[in-house]
């Protein structure tokens, strides 16, 4: 294998970075050029990620070491877990770019928007491929800084306040995370991410210190993963434009946090040590509280995007729950939800954006009868909602199925009522919405503008059908489920 091939992680990272720079340079004037840069970057990255998927499946290793300071390396690597997140990010970046181009058709400051958009994806890629905690941290902070201009894109007073809340939470979380890293380096020296972790030998003597560090690290990533009570920023950040919300909720910020939890549990501490320190159950309890709390809050939201935001708070903790239970089956459920939640939630946000753009619908009560005007968008919204409830054959069903099996497998029977409770609560806040959209008489009196703009509709249809496809074809080897099974087999050494 040539060095160039081995350094694939670097090329993937650079593509997004170069795209970002190119978009900034192209500026506001050359719109065609900018769009061309954007789309070709996204497509090229998709190709490279596909090549890497194929390579990792064959057992190739991709590692790049960049010495930053003596003893402190930036390590980029692509294992199966990294590729799970990268594939999601690469696919949804392309889709969201198409959507965003249509969404912001006449809006000002598009160059700034798309530049930071690409930068945000660069950071996501870096987080996915980070090979140690330090690298992870660097890109984690970059992500915070790159998403802030997107959140405050519209620049009104309300938006600036929301942006400030966002910064307070995420930068604070970053600082706690860094403290955790420093303490861990002090205790164990710099270690790379390794399946099963390398800290087991310290478990006996330093149980207290390891527990404290674990809590710090989880708080650090938990802010972005919106674990209760660190979730406050997420519903506030709903003021961002729809494509940003979609990306924030499906791939970038929230998922980065969830992915961080996976890395900390699996590749820093290792499942065995986490169970030995009784941290698994603690994390599972926190995740369960988040799942129920988020769903409960969602019920009383009257704004569509806010309801979806609280739904995200709830759903993302499925990932933490699955990872925390320490059973291979539960881990499958948690990891596959990383992708599944992304597909379903991005569909829901695309729909929310399409409603807002086409008929100016923001409040839930304005949705009455919209299914007549926008049947395809509403059909996709229906798919996303049923997926969130966990109805087969949608993606959410597969996640919930494996989480449930894992709960039985790990003898954590109390998790089953949590999953069922979440199902019921999801039904309570999604089904009335579907009833409104399909069965109520039309509320809006505007003239009939028909379906959403094709640039908004087609990405939605794509992600909506994908959310069904990954569930329907779950048993297929290259489905997200098939890939996650590969990860878990490698992780647990089965």
């Amino acid at each position: 294998m040539s060095t160039l091939y081995q350094a694939m992680p670097l090329w993937v990272l650079l593509i997004s970075l170069v795209t970002a720079v190119a978009v900034f340079i192209a500026g506001e004037k050359w719109q065609r050029l900018r769009t061309a840069f954007n789309l070709s970057g996204a497509v090229l990255k998709l190709v490279l990620v596909a090549i890497m998927l194929w390579g990792v499946d064959l057992g190739h290793t991709f590692v790049v070491h960049l010495p930053l300071l003596p003893g402190l390396n930036l390590v980029l690597q692509a294992d199966a877990l990294a590729l799970l997140f990268m594939s999601l990010s690469a696919v949804l970046w392309l889709v969201t770019t198409v959507y965003a181009i249509a969404y912001l058709e006449r809006a000002p400051d598009r160059a700034r928007f798309f530049g930071f958009f690409s930068l945000c994806v660069t950071a996501t890629m870096g987080i996915a491929m980070a090979g140690n905690l330090f690298t992870f941290f660097v890109f984690y902070e970059l992500l915070t800084l790159a998403t802030w201009p997107l959140v405050i894109h519209r620049g009104t007073d309300k938006v600036m306040v929301a942006g400030r809340t966002y910064l307070h939470y995420t930068l604070g979380g970053g600082a706690v995370f860094l403290l955790g890293i420093v303490l861990l380096y002090h205790l164990a020296g710099p270690t790379d991410f390794v399946a099963g972790g390398e800290l087991l030998h310290l478990g006996e003597d330093h149980a207290g210190a390891l527990t404290a560090i674990f809590v710090l690290l989880i708080i650090g990533v938990g802010v972005k993963a919106a674990i209760v009570p660190l979730h406050g920023w997420l519903p506030t950040a709903m003021v961002a434009p729809a494509p940003v919300s979609a990306l924030l909720h499906a791939v970038a910020v929230v998922k980065a946090g969830a992915f961080g939890i996976v890395r900390v549990v699996h590749d820093v501490y290792g499942v065995e040590l986490v169970q030995q320190l009784h941290l698994g159950t603690a994390l599972a309890v926190v995740a369960s509280i988040t799942i129920i709390y988020g769903s409960l809050r969602a019920i009383w939201q009257t704004d569509l995007k806010r309801r979806l935001a609280f739904s995200t708070v709830s759903q993302v903790s499925y990932v933490a729950l699955g990872v925390a239970m320490g059973s291979p089956l539960a881990t499958i459920g948690g990891l596959v939800h990383l992708v599944h939640q992304g597909l379903m939630k991005i569909t829901l946000f695309f729909c929310a954006g399409a409603y807002a753009e086409t008929y100016g619908i923001h409040a839930i009560r304005e949705l009455d009868g919209i299914g007549r005007r926008m049947p395809w968008t509403t059909a996709m919204f229906t798919l996303g909602a049923f997926g969130m409830i966990g109805v087969p054959p949608l993606a959410g069903f597969i996640s919930k199925w494996y989480l449930g099996l894992g709960a039985v497998d790990a003898h954590q029977y109390w998790v089953i009522p949590v999953l069922l409770g979440s199902t019921v609560l999801n039904a309570i806040y999604f089904l009335p919405l579907l009833h409104r959209a399909w069965f109520r008489p039309l509320a809006i009196t505007d003239k009939d503008r028909g379906e959403a703009h094709p640039g908004l509709l087609w990405p939605t249809v794509f992600t909506g059908l994908s959310a069904m496809g990954v569930g329907l074809l779950a048993a297929f080897a290259w489905s997200p489920l098939g890939w996650v099974e590969l990860i878990v087999v490698r992780e647990y050494g089965l």
Binding site: L69, P70, G71, L72, F134, E141, M160, R164, L167, H168, L171, G172, G174, A175, L178, L179, I181, V182, Y185, H186, G189, P190, L329, G371, P375, W376, A379, F386, G390, V391, P392, P393, F397, I398, K400, W401, G404, L405, G406, A407, V408, D409, I416, L419, L420, T423, V424, A427, L431, H435, W438, F439, P441, G471, L472, L473, A474, A475, F476
Partner: protein, 553 residues
């Protein structure tokens, strides 16, 4: 050949999407249902081997089985009859949506009849359940929306019971197929719990007491063709769930099986009695369905508990289920036909009504005789007693449904009448054919005939007597126990809201009077563009970074 199995749910599923987009007209929907129904009958006749699709969902297996095949024929006939009389509902405002829901329910229903593995069954069951909501609330009246809401509440509760059962089952056995169920349960750690969850979960669809309340609400508000398929064939989804995902004669489930039989018998009596005190014909029919499904639960419970021979009980269940599907479907469909056709139609309607009551020569005779022949004493006598209450109930139905005078305006399509007559005819023939020579001979024994006649006579006598004595006729609310439960829930919610409001009103206003907040406000200026605060945080990060550097170096 077995690829035809996949077409059964797929074809109506695709049509449903096209219907939603408004791409097919009302006639197209009917033709689509007809074509699919012919395919279904073909599949039932050919009885092809199982179709295994390992790449689909979690390894899907589709196949017909002893109960699925006759119900497939019944479903095909009933759905065609429903589709032909629902022609006007597919057109006009909201017609596309109704057509789509109708077709999705059809797809889910056919899928349930042929899905053999847990995940695929759950998939079709869910499609059927949620799509049927669109049928229930089609009229959009306040009443229909309430019925739909209660339907959904119970449906979701049922789904949750099933899901927890599936979790426990699949954690040990993966995604098993129905044929392996006996072996799977023998190795299962908590066989009793899993079985109990399935029994309860599917009981919601079957409408056993006390989870029957959705039926008497949903049936009168749904359009007639929708009620016909709901009561005739959709409720049978619960039956198939029981048969496929519970073992035969499993000792761990003996108590659960006996309980099911007991609850079934209680439902049979209670529902019939409550149904007599209803004022709408369709509600009475809904109670009749609850009662008959209770009766059907008796042999299922015995099968699970291991009392009686499994092959005999299975055959009996198939005969009874087919008989009820077609007879009850025909009765519901008659509600539209007598509006247009008057007395002539009503005369025809008496036949399926007599069949439900188990009158001699009708399909009800062979169905009830079959059940009685397969169950141990004293159940045959008790089942004979249910014929009395059933006769009372159907007498009430006929009184309510009988056309009072001249025909109403509005013609009914000739093809709809033909399809309806076909359902009635098949409803009489199919159970007799299924029963086999032994079953037919048993039904025509003098004892069996006598057992069919005297309850009927007693029931009719009782009805006449009651009509004289009980004046004015008292009326119970539709859905009986749902009324106090609903009031209780609404009251409790209102009380909780009041309590929460009172609490928050009493709480002192927080924000301003906390000292540290003021202090923080002074120390950290929260004003645009807010650079200082961000700067401080960045500085902390940089300092920490250098600490790392020192430690690592």
């Amino acid at each position: 050949m077995n690829a035809l199995l996949a077409l059964l749910p797929l074809l109506p599923g695709v049509l449903a999407i096209l219907a939603l987009a408004g791409r097919i007209a009302a006639r197209g929907v009917t033709v689509g249902v007809l074509v699919t129904a012919l395919l279904a009958i073909l599949v039932a006749a050919l009885n092809p081997g199982p179709l295994e699709l390992p790449w689909l969902l979690l390894d899907t297996t589709l196949a017909t089985d002893a109960t699925g095949a006759p119900l497939l024929v019944a479903a095909a006939l009933l759905w065609v009859a429903a589709a032909t009389s629902a022609r006007s509902l597919f057109a006009g405002d909201g017609g596309a949506l109704f057509a789509s829901c109708f077709l999705f329910t059809f797809a889910g229903n056919l899928g349930v009849l042929i899905a053999q593995d847990v995940a695929a069954f759950y998939l079709f069951f869910a499609v059927m359940t949620f799509a049927a909501y669109g049928l229930v609330i089609h009229d959009r009246t306040r009443e229909a929306v309430r019925a739909g809401r209660i339907y959904l509440v119970l449906a979701v509760a049922g789904e949750c019971l099933l899901l927890s059962g599936f979790f426990l089952l699949a954690a040990e056995a993966g995604n098993p197929v129905a044929a392996d169920m006996d072996r799977v349960y023998a190795d299962l750690e908590r066989a009793g719990l899993v079985g109990g969850l399935f029994l309860a979960g599917f009981a919601v669809k079957m409408g056993l007491i006390p989870v029957h309340v959705w039926l008497p609400l949903a049936h009168p508000t749904a359009p007639v063709p929708a009620s016909a398929v709901l009561s005739g064939i959709i409720v049978k989804g619960g039956l198939l769930g029981w048969l496929r995902f519970l073992p035969e004669a499993e000792p761990a489930l003996a108590a659960a099986g006996d309980t099911l039989a007991a609850v079934g018998l209680a439902s049979a009596f209670l529902a019939a009695l409550v149904g007599c005190f209803q004022k709408r014909a369709k509600t009475v029919l809904a109670y009749s369905t609850i009662s008959q499904m209770g009766l059907l639960a008796v042999p299922v419970g015995l099968l699970i508990a291991g009392r009686g021979e499994a092959p005999v009980l299975l055959a009996v269940i198939a005969v009874f289920a087919t008989h009820h599907a077609l007879a009850k479907g025909a009765l519901f469909l008659a509600m539209d036909h007598i509006k247009a056709g008057g007395r002539a139609m009503a005369m025809v309607m008496v036949l399926p009504a007599l069949a439900i009551a188990g009158a001699p020569v009708t399909s009800g005779l062979v169905a009830k005789a079959a059940v009685k022949s397969a169950v141990p004493d004293p159940l045959p006598l008790l089942i004979t007693f249910t014929s009395v209450t059933t006769t009372l109930l159907l007498a009430r139905f006929l009184v309510l449904a009988w056309p009072s005078g001249a025909k109403n305006a509005g013609a009914i399509a000739r093809v709809a009448i033909a399809a309806w007559l076909l359902v009635i005819a098949a409803g009489q023939l199919l159970p007799w054919t299924l029963a086999g020579p032994a079953g037919r001979a048993y039904a025509f024994q003098a004892g069996a005939l006598w057992d069919a006649v005297w309850p009927l006579a007693l029931g009719i006598g009782g009805a006449v007597l009651a009509a004289r004595m009980l004046r004015p006729w008292r009326v119970l609310p539709e859905g009986d126990i749902v009324v106090p439960v609903e009031r209780g829930v609404i009251g409790a919610y209102a009380a909780a809201v009041r309590a929460a409001t009172a609490l928050s009103a009493r709480r002192p206003a927080l924000p301003q009077d906390i000292p540290w907040r003021q202090l923080a406000g002074r120390l950290l200026p929260h004003r645009e563009p807010d650079i200082p605060w961000v700067g401080v945080q960045m500085l902390v990060l940089v300092l920490l970074l250098s600490v790392i550097y020192l430690l690592a170096g």
